[in-house]
């Protein structure tokens, strides 16, 4: 049955973008805005292509790297991220698994203990719940428990966060879950450069790394710099990127929500309301709190934006860390979290729209936060 559900989710992808464009003009604008970026060298790549090239380059560079997961080979990937890799590397390195997440995740972790560098794909991170014990108890902790005797150089990857119209069990963000676990590194790319650089860094990292991709971003094109096209391009895990400089307020975000934050920043600048600084976290763990602190000291205001649930979320952690840091004294207004609503994801489109942050909500919260002053 779960196979049918998974396939159903896959079938929906090509229609997602059109559906959104048709029915959600704000979201459509955000996506189109991204599409309108021009790179100097004119090379654009979808997030899907960027991930695919990262996998191919790392598999060419190191024959201990292999890809394992459901439908990664013959089917060319449920979301076509692994397209062509079976033909290029053969069935000993691109391995289709049965639908047994707990088993194949454990198997991939065991192979990492014994010297391989697996890339373990989850068709979506929702299904990794079946295997979370292997990720947390086996992969993340064994290096520590063994006093450094056993390494676990594994990459877990797949689409995370809300998709479109797939209901509660297939739409949630696991950034806070995995971000809380010592021993793991967790990255959450937004655009194509992030996707390529972070996935390559994850594969090269000698620790277990969780790569949280986003289904709705796979088909979106972004410019690729000359550097990002190189085989040697990696993005350091644990470093955030200031995507847009500003002076009046800081928005910290990750994954797809970065696009909404960028669109809101552009909107408010055009309206002459504020110059908004946008930080793309890129890494959830280690969390680059220093970049956030530096920005808050400059702008004196902070909003966090994520697709995950509010309670114990990434934004909650950032709020707590800012409270505990010297940046607290620089705040002119309370920090605000913009998050997914505290409900399981509903199916109906009008309800689903209300469950996740978008450009409009972010713009609204920015204006409200700018109007506030602590003690005023």
């Amino acid at each position: 049955m779960s196979n049918i559900l998974k396939k159903a989710a896959v079938v929906s992808i090509p229609t997602v973008r059109q559906a959104l464009l048709r029915s959600n003009p704000l979201l459509a604008n955000a996506l189109l805005a991204k599409r309108s970026y021009n790179s100097k060298n004119g090379v654009e790549m979808t997030v899907r292509e960027a991930l695919n090239s990262a996998l191919e380059e790392e598999m060419r560079a190191d024959d201990k790297v292999y890809l394992m997961g459901e439908e990664v080979g013959l089917y060319n990937g449920a979301y076509k991220v692994s397209k062509g890799l079976l033909d290029k590397f053969g069935p000993s390195r691109v391995i289709d698994t049965p639908i047994t997440e707990s088993g194949f995740t454990g198997l991939a972790v065991g192979s990492a203990f014994a010297g391989l560098k697996p890339v373990c794909e989850f068709m979506t991170w929702n299904f990794a719940m079946q295997a979370i014990d292997q990720i947390v108890n086996s992969a993340a902790k064994t290096h520590y428990m063994s006093g450094g005797n056993v390494n676990c150089p594994i990459t877990f990857r797949g689409p995370n966060g809300a998709a479109a119209g797939v209901g509660a069990q297939h739409s949630q963000c696991f950034a806070a879950w995995y971000g809380s676990v010592p021993g793991l590194k967790v990255v959450s790319p937004w655009n194509s450069e992030d996707a390529k650089g972070l996935l390559k860094a994850a594969i090269r990292d000698p620790n277990p790394v969780v790569v949280l991709e986003n289904e709705l971003m796979y088909g979106v094109s972004f410019p690729m710099s000359e550097a990002a096209l190189s085989n040697d391009f990696v993005i350091e895990i644990g470093k955030a990127k200031v995507e847009r400089e500003g002076t009046d307020i800081t928005i910290v975000s990750h994954s797809r929500a970065v696009g909404f934050a960028m669109a809101a920043a552009e909107l408010l600048e055009k309206e002459g309301v504020a110059k908004v600084e946008v930080i793309n976290l890129r890494s959830i763990r280690p969390l680059d709190i220093d970049t956030i602190i530096k920005s808050v000291k400059k702008t004196n205001r902070l909003i966090t934006v994520e697709g995950g649930w509010p309670q114990h979320g990434v934004g909650s952690e950032i709020c707590a860390q800012i409270m505990e840091s010297e940046a607290f004294d620089y705040l002119d207004a309370p920090v605000v979290r913009v998050t997914g609503a505290d409900v399981p994801t509903p199916y109906a489109q009008n309800l689903e729209t209300l469950a996740f942050p978008d450009t409009e909500v972010i713009a609204r919260v920015i204006k409200r936060t700018l109007a506030k002053k602590i003690g005023a």
């Binding site: 088993g103 198997l107 192979s111 428990m145 056993v150």
Partner: protein, 404 residues
């Protein structure tokens, strides 16, 4: 290889040196004879296992004739004696409140780890669950490093950070605390062997209590599908914690649980039978196309499940006593050695005494060892040199910065 050779690994590995000249005589209930054809073979003892040593499922069982040198058999005895002594010592240390938390003893089950190791090479890999002290010793961990780990010392095999359930050596992957989770890990180690070194196998141990976990069957499926050199070994000590096998398993023939994977039930109280089964299984796993196997070692745990379990609420004292007096793996080998005239009563006593002395010496050393450096709290969260810039302690001012 992702692990480092450690000085804590002592040279405890059994070598099957077939060098000692042995003269053997036919016995009343043990058939033993000396080869006369070649000088080398003449050094081997051929033991005839009892006919009920094996029961097979979809395969031909191994031969009941076992070739082993006198040295190998004496080594098996020494090793079982050491593990028994080490476990009894751990029991005492726990009751003296020097060992914390969980501690699972393998008294009664010594033939399994010792018989297994006698048939393996360093290239072969082993993984098991939390009842791991004997396996750690057999896979190269020194007595001192194991006891020091139990005592939470810096010199412990996991630097005092793993404890009873988490001990590792370069060819032993623990020591895992989540029931059944080590089974797919073992299949993955076999996957890596197939990928890197086609001439070695992985022995993946689990208890009868773990045998019904879903991921055990998931691992069976992939191991068969991909022809992995993996031998799944169900160490059936009759009780999953306090639940007898027949109260937890619809099918208590664990060697048949693999369905499409052939299986073998083994008298796990006979170290020679275990040796023969493991040697046979290793050959099987390394023969391309045959795929994995499921072994069931019929054994018995004398102690409770863990230290908090007296082990008497779900079974009778008489039952334990009966196994101890009729089927103890150490006593059984002792009787064989004496019957075969490979050792005298005095030799056995000397080996027992030596085992006791070796363990006693190790425990005295371990007790004097220091606790881990407090800075080691922060070590090995990530691989050295790839850590986060800092990690937080209990409050914001307790912050550990890594030098990178």
């Amino acid at each position: 290889m992702t692990m480092l050779r450690s000085p804590m690994l002592a040279a405890s590995r059994l070598t099957l040196a077939r060098t000692a000249p042995v003269t053997t005589r036919p016995m009343a209930f043990l058939t033993a004879r000396a080869f006369s054809s070649s000088a080398a073979a003449a050094r081997d003892t051929v033991l005839r296992l009892p006919s009920n040593s094996f029961e097979s499922y979809n395969c031909d069982p191994p031969s009941l004739d076992v070739n082993l040198s006198k040295d190998a058999l004496l080594n098996m005895y020494r090793q079982m004696a050491i593990i028994r002594r080490m476990e009894i010592t751990a029991d005492g240390l726990y009751k003296a409140m020097l060992i914390r938390g969980f501690c699972h003893l393998s008294t009664g089950q010594e033939a399994v780890s010792v018989g297994m190791e006698s048939a393996l090479t360093d290239e072969d890999k082993v993984i098991t669950a939390y009842r791991s002290h004997g396996f750690t010793y057999m896979r190269g961990g020194s007595i001192h490093s194991i006891l020091a780990e139990l005592l939470g010392r810096k010199t412990g095999i996991s630097k005092g950070k793993g404890g009873s359930m988490h001990m590792f050596t370069p060819d032993f992957f623990g020591g895992n605390g989540i029931v059944g989770a080590q089974v797919p890990l073992g299949a993955g180690i076999a996957f890596a062997q197939k990928y890197l070194h086609p001439n070695a196998a992985t022995f993946t141990f689990y208890g009868d209590g773990a045998a019904n976990q879903g991921q055990v069957f998931e691992a069976f499926n992939m191991a068969k599908l991909w022809d992995l050199p993996c031998v799944f070994v169900c160490e059936n000590n009759q009780y999953g914690m306090g639940t007898p096998a027949d109260r937890s398993s619809a099918n208590t023939d664990y060697f048949k649980h693999g369905d499409y994977i052939p299986g073998l039930k083994v008298d796990g109280m006979d170290v020679v039978a275990v040796y023969q089964a493991v040697a046979w299984a290793r050959e099987w796993a390394l023969t391309s196309g045959k795929g994995p196997l499921v072994l069931e070692m019929q054994t018995y745990r004398y102690a409770g499940h863990s230290m908090s379990d007296p082990g008497t609420s779900y079974r009778s004292r008489e039952e334990i006593k009966k196994v101890r007096s009729n089927n103890d793996p150490i006593t059984r080998l002792k009787e064989q050695l004496i019957e075969l005239q490979l050792a005298s009563e005095e030799d056995i006593k000397a080996m027992d005494k030596a085992a006791r002395a070796e363990v006693d010496k190790a425990v005295e050393l371990a007790k004097k060892d220091p606790e881990p450096n407090v800075d080691s709290l922060w070590e090995h969260v990530n691989v050295k040199g790839t850590e986060a810039p800092f990690l937080r302690g209990r409050e914001p001012s307790e912050r550990h910065h890594y030098n990178r």
